[in-house]
């Protein structure tokens, strides 16, 4: 048995992580699942949430959104549209942006386009807030 799991975290713009770890807990669309070394081939879509990387007793928590996880014999790769380490999320900033979005939505004379964007942004922000 391999002792370590090879874990890749990539976003469209760059590779965020590529290392050997002990375990990764991934927020799947149908529930959180843990991946240990030598996991069976598996593919799942991601739900917005916190991905936890455990290595040598240390834990790293990363907020991910939109994408999927793939387990192959070569390891686990997570393709996320967005990935931010949880400690870099700023609760206050998120709360402020949520307020701004809600104001945008409350405003009646905005175009459908801005409204759609604001709604999307709001949903997204709430997910982030929940992750904290």
């Amino acid at each position: 048995m391999a002792d370590k799991l090879h874990f890749d975290l990539v976003s469209p713009e760059r590779r965020l992580m590529s290392e050997e770890v002990d375990q990764v807990d991934v927020p799947g669309a149908e529930g959180v699942f843990g991946v240990l070394p030598d996991h069976a081939p598996f593919m799942a879509t991601l739900a917005p949430g916190v991905l936890t990387v455990k290595n040598a007793g240390a834990e790293k928590r990363i907020f991910v959104r939109g994408g999927f996880a793939e387990v192959t014999p070569a390891g686990l790769s997570v393709l996320a549209e967005e990935a931010v380490p949880v400690e870099e999320l700023d609760a206050e900033a998120i709360a402020r942006r949520i307020r701004e979005c809600e104001e945008d939505l409350a405003d009646e004379d905005v175009t459908a386009e801005t409204r759609r964007q604001a709604e999307q942004e709001l949903r997204h922000l709430k997910e982030m807030q929940a992750a904290l």
Partner: protein, 293 residues
Amino acid sequence: MPSLKALKNRIDSVKSTKKITKAMQMVASAKLRRAEDAAKAARPYTERMEAVLANLAASAKDNPAAPKLLAGTGKDDAHLLIVATADKGLCGAFNSSIVRLARERIVKLQGEGKTVKIICVGRKGYDQLKRLYADLVVWRTDFLGVRRISFGEAQEIAARVLEMFDKREFDVAAIFYGKFKSVISQVPTAQQIIPAVAPEGAAPPDLKGAIYAYEPDEEEILKTLLPRYVSVQIFRALLENVASEMGAKMTAMDNATRNAGEMIDKLTLQYNRARQAQITKELIEIISGAEAL
């Protein structure tokens, strides 16, 4: 024969042009490096995505319920062309060659009696296409205010394209962009993005005999994956386009700088000759004046 002063002015103006083109070349080469880095950084994601899609597409191919984004609408009547060009000129034939490729396609499709719609990404493409096909352009966008193209921009375009696809406004979509081969060679390329073409050369991972488990099932995954794949392909095309634009600009500006240098040499020679002729003439005047006395 132009006067000495006119020649002098001319030389000065060519010199300052040369300075500008030289500076533009250097800026382009710095930007090219950045664009190449961005394209390189985006590669792992694209490769993974392609591997996953190749894997799923192979098993979904025979499924009649396969998503339309993969299997197509079953028709081939309306085509959407996404023409990605630069926002700025001064990069040689870069923009025109992409537009030419798109135009050839439009003429061909229209000749076959198909409907053509165009999305212009980048200002220059629109400027060139609007003369002939202004009524075909359904939407256009540019990145004039954007310093670095991020995935967000690609997603915005993809969202637009997918929305049109959902409304059955087209059957086949292709993106036109400049593929970056090297600094001196950019190949205008048309790439079909809808229906999705399973990427070549992306080998499914070796599972050592094991079978994939899917969560949720394969169809659900394909459904979320395909729209993303469209964004990813657009994103990659845009990144390549930026790299190509900068490459083309570098080459064009390098040529311009060299031409300016040659012109300066030629003009300087002319200037010196004219000066020499004037001196000789003055001497002759003085000498013949002295002889006459």
